[in-house]
């Protein structure tokens, strides 16, 4: 299991060091600094073995988190734990920075004591942790409160405490998708997929039982067989094939496995209910058509057309097209029909920004790039043109069909809950080769 956990700043100074196992000595702290942080060549793996000791590291801005072990640990678990540790810290004191870590080091030690015992990760749900790791002391608690805490931390529903009350029962569902594309210069889709997340903010009283439904092809086809032919036939068209999905630990997985229904008791506040991935019938919101022409050895002509491909009534926002330029660029002239374009020498790219663009429109940019003559034999690698945008629909075609709330002990019903649903599609890695 994890033998120790260290946090360093960018200089390699150790900010937090907690050792769980006897086989990890103080020299491990230095070994990581010397061999990874200060390594002459950047390390090419997130797992490093130094003198029979394995180091796992992740970096958050300029802070290094390293877990150390001498055993054959579950590597996936260690990384998951490090991410979780980052989440917990963020939930407690915001951004992970040197300043925040130094100011909260006592809290961090307390957390590390709680969520890792002898190197074994324990309950690390922020909701539960916040009930008893407060930095305020817990002496004021009654016996009932104490046992409530412990049963929550160890219980089956570790993510939610009892006795939550809201005057207004309300929930928000955000369907957040990122659409990824790799397209050949000729416009052939090399790979495309959507990775989506359903994020829920729940402000519900008591211990509500929820059921979530979406236009999952498997569910709808099943219902279609069961009868109600008309409606099923209609909605069948809109159903989507989900390649795979994963759920927050509150979802009863065995139930999903057998009935494909998503039922759960949600944590309070914001959390990620599910993640999913689709590859079929993706709506690609934009098409990029590049044209690069080399005129002699010192000039490059670039023309890029973007076409929006969705309902004209919808508006895409925050559109940004990034056209890479060679390293030996000496000057650039740009003309664009819409938005603003600028050559950014430090990033070796022309960045073209458009605030808003409606569906089924087209826009164009053309640029002339002057090059310095070089002796460098190596050809310019032509990195792909990438794009960023945000659209108010789900490119996968996912639709939320229902989210039902049942709370048997309290007197509010499904109808009393105010529900909000919002769809946001963003670009993930959206690239077109040129």
């Amino acid at each position: 299991m994890i033998g120790g956990l260290f946090i360093y700043n960018h200089k390699g100074e150790v900010l937090i060091s907690r050792v769980y196992r006897d086989d990890i000595g103080r020299n491990a702290v230095d070994a990581f600094r010397v061999n990874v942080i200060h390594a002459r060549q950047q390390v090419r793996s997130p797992v490093t073995n130094i003198a029979r000791t394995s180091f796992f590291h992740v970096k958050r801005s300029n802070i290094w988190l390293a877990a150390v072990t001498k055993q054959n640990v579950n590597a996936a678990m260690v990384f998951e734990f490090l991410y979780k540790m980052c989440d917990v810290m963020t939930a407690y004191f915001g951004k992970i920075s040197e300043e925040n870590i130094k100011n909260n080091f006592v809290l961090i030690y307390e957390l590390l004591d709680e969520i890792l015992d002898f190197g074994y990760p324990q309950n690390s749900e922020t909701g539960a942790l916040k009930t008893f790791i407060t930095q305020q002391g817990i002496k004021g608690q009654t016996k009932e409160e104490q046992s409530q805490i412990t049963s929550q931390v160890t219980g089956q529903i570790g993510w939610r405490r009892e006795g939550i009350k809201y005057r207004r029962n309300e929930l928000f569902l955000d369907v957040l998708e990122s659409v990824n594309l790799l397209m050949s210069p000729q416009g052939q889709v090399l790979s495309a997929h959507v990775s989506g997340r359903v994020v829920m903010k729940s402000y519900l009283s008591g211990m509500p039982e929820c059921k979530f439904g979406m236009n999952d092809k498997i569910v709808i086809d099943k219902q279609g067989k069961g009868g109600a032919s008309d409606e099923a036939g209609k909605s069948g068209k809109q159903s989507i094939a989900i390649d795979d999905c994963t759920f927050h630990q509150c979802v009863r997985l065995s139930k999903f496995d057998s009935e494909r229904s998503i039922s759960f008791i949600p944590p309070d506040g914001e959390y990620e209910l599910m993640r999913y991935r689709t590859t079929k019938d993706i709506i690609l919101p934009f098409r990029v058509i590049p044209l690069v022409r080399e005129v002699g050895r010192t000039k490059l002509e670039v023309k890029v057309v973007i076409k929006s491909n969705f309902k004209p009534s919808l508006l895409a926002q925050k559109i940004e097209v990034r056209i890479p330029t060679p390293l030996n660029t000496s000057g650039v002239q740009v003309i664009c029909m819409k938005g603003k374009a600028k050559y950014k020498a430090s990033e070796n790219a022309i960045v073209w920004k458009i605030k808003r663009m409606a569906g089924m429109k087209e826009s164009q940019i053309s640029a002339e790039i002057e090059l310095l003559p070089t002796n460098d034999k190596k050809k310019w690698a032509r990195p792909p043109i990438s794009m960023n945008f945000e659209v108010p629909f789900a490119p996968s075609g996912l639709k939320v069909r229902y989210l039902k709330v049942f709370e048997s002990k309290l007197n509010y019903s499904d109808h009393d809950v105010i529900k909000w649903v919002r769809y946001i599609g963003r670009s993930g890695i959206y690239e077109t080769r040129c």
């Binding site: 307390e110 219980g155 997985l253």
Partner: protein
Amino acid sequence: MCDFPFFSLVCTGEIFELKAELNSDKKEKKKEAVKKVIASMTVGKDVSALFPDVVNCMQTDNLELKKLVYLYLMNYAKSQPDMAIMAVNTFVKDCEDPNPLIRALAVRTMGCIRVDKITEYLCEPLRKCLKDEDPYVRKTAAVCVAKLHDINAQLVEDQGFLDTLKDLISDSNPMVVANAVAALSEIAESHPNSNLLDLNPQTINKLLTALNECTEWGQIFILDCLANYTPRDDRESQSICERVTPRLSHANSAVVLSAVKVLMKFMEMLPKDLDYYGTLLKKLAPPLVTLLSAEPELQYVALRNINLIVQRRPEILKHEMKVFFVKYNDPIYVKLEKLDIMIRLASQANIAQVLAELKEYATEVDVDFVRKAVRAIGRCAIKVEQSAERCVSTLLDLIQTKVNYVVQEAIVVIKDIFRKYPNKYESVIATLCENLDSLDEPEARAAMIWIVGEYAERIDNADELLESFLEGFHDESTQVQLQLLTAIVKLFLKKPTETQELVQQVLSLATQDSDNPDLRDRGYIYWRLLSTDPVAAKEVVLAEKPLISEETDLIEPTLLEELICHIGTLASVYHKPPSAFVEGSRGVQHKRLPGSAGSGESADSPDTGSAAGVSEAPPAVIPSQGDLLGDLLNLDLTPPTTSGPPPAPSSGMQMGAMDLLGGGLDSLVGLLHRTDTPQSPQLSHQSPSPPDYSPTEVGPGDHAGPVKARSPAMGAGFGAPPTAMPASFPPPVSGGLDDLFDLGGSVGMPMGAYSPPKSIWLPAMKAKGLEISGTFARRAGVIQMEMTLTNKAMSIMTDFAIQFNRNSFGLAPAGPLQVLTPVGPNQSIEVALPLSTVGPVMKMEPLTNLQVAVKNNIDVFYFSSQYPISMLFVEDGKMERQVFLATWKDIPNDNEAQFQIKDCHLNSDAASSKLQGSNVFTIAKRTVEGQDMLYQSMKLTNGIWVLAELRVQAGNPNYTVTCISKERCVHQGSSYRSNMLEF
């Protein structure tokens, strides 16, 4: 003031100041002071002096303060065990506290204090806490048992904690179950044979129930534990699989991977014709693909595992090629892994896409990645025959880019393509030859030379091309030299008339002017082959080449099986069994996949039985290079065995032969004479680095093509069954005598000074992965310590240095240890350290014992070795006859020692000339009653003379040696020295 008050203190007076603050009456001040102490501790400052003051703060109802004090205690208790006892009372009291959080905190902390006296006090509270009414306390106590076991295993067993822990598996609270499972698994690991985790269907059922309810981490513990279970039959296996599959949808990748591990393992037991088997296979693909959208570090872990899964069951992901396409922004470690998997999944169906991608990658920036991409194109050509033509043309396009490393990499893979598809793509040779001048890497040069040699008959100016390489022969790396030698010999066999001069030239370069034994050996073998039987030479050198394998870099099947059992863990990331990187007994036991159920016949064993997928995998590897080599040696050397010792080498070889005999040939000669022993041990000790040597003479073998057959089994191959390997290192020195007399067989050959074969001085186990083997030799009047440093650890070793302890003859390094380059993992490096004899002297027991300390960037290691005294004999040890006689008489009788050498079949002349090689000089010879008496002298580096009389009786294999010396002290080592003297 500094922004961060707790991190800013440094000065010397601070300890004093802190002391005052810790003893302050004000609670707030106390707390701040403890915080400062912890901050200093974090930065690595020693604040142990404050121990009593900090412990005094423990008695508090402020939980935050208490936790800080505990943190301090855990750090320093070990260094101050007596003081730590002061804390015990508070712990014991806290374990009775009404607040469960405090009870748990106390038991948790107590387990972390590794002081024997404290552990004694821990037992009672722990027993209570294991049965506490509060689950939070129980789950903490469960882990505490593992902690205690780590400190004192016997105590845990005696106190019966293990049984209590087992009972916790049936606890009502899922988290308690999970922690108990984790603790038990860990304890069981250090007791491989115990039946601690008594997994039976009932407990499995309990675990599976808890699996649905506990935290994500608990699920991982339980799944990892389940993976160790072997179901009784396929039905049980299926029912467990059914209950584990829902975990594949968990958001935590570690849960998913652990579930995959359980399924991969239990699937082995399912009959292949079962519907469920197919369903399961289909269910595995999506979650594996989903792992690739996780954070990059997890992607890396997932990809390393997918690499294993794809080798074991290629059918799972065969349609998922696209998800492994490299994204421009992927971190380099993800890119490289994806590339590996792309090649594994490449098939006729998707090859067009793959090739288009690879071509794209070959224009990227990262050099390593580009190289790997180019190599991948070659591997595709070899794997999918239909694509070979397209691959070759892609490679030619890449060569046209003239980017240096791309060109070189392309040439290396084109060589392999030629191997796979002979007589098909030779038209491109012209293009390749154009780039001859730009090749500066050894591998590429070697590949190009191979191509020229192989197709010498079609390249008009092949001799010119090869000759141009020959000019700088000595500046080339060994790889290129060897290849050049072979290529020219091939050329000669194809065009004997025009190239005679060239072949002469290369053979003499290789045999006379080179100090590389591999090269000389190969040179000699070719030379002898060509001079004795050109027809045989043609058969050997231009033999039909065995097919190269389609699949490349496959992990050896038993290792693969073991790694599949370790999916998700570090072992699967390193692709090494846990024993390779874990110290001690933990996790060293090898895990295996269960045998398949159903028939249970051998035909259905997991290796052969895993359906179409793997059965096509056992590739047509090169048929045992070793055998070929064995044949070659027989071919060359067998006739002489029957007709006595081999004829003296022709005069042209004489020079090289001198020290060749000292090193390389002795084993070959031994081979000839020790007919009763199998030839393998000798063969193997001649090659301290088998991988370099093994393919040498086997013309075709050295082009193992893309196979790069460096798996351990192959490397050690070399004609010797692997079991013979241990025999290759004779026991140190004392065995030297035997070896010498083996050597004795080679009568009439001029001899170099004897030096025993290398033996292991420092095993890797004792030196954190550094293995040192070595020997001593006297070369041209200089004593040398010749060592092979092998790095068996996984990190690079640098900064080597060496020192000797004082010793009997004042041996000391004459210069620093010359290890200029860092030694990478699994690399070894040869060093010769010249020794002087002017160091400090101290008598050792035994006399020739030498204690050595070697330092590297990791640590300092000590070992001792014994050197043969013969290396201390100086060249001017020949005494005047008169002086000899006088001295002999001078020395009192009790300075005399006598002993016998058994089983030596040399005549006196031969023995004398042999001994002279080791600076043992014969002064006179007498023959009395059929007995030859040799009078010999030798002089040690410290100026002491030793005189000896050697009696050899014809027909009697036993020699009698009497030796005397003026100095008694030297003499006391005689029993040892005797061993050395007589050769």
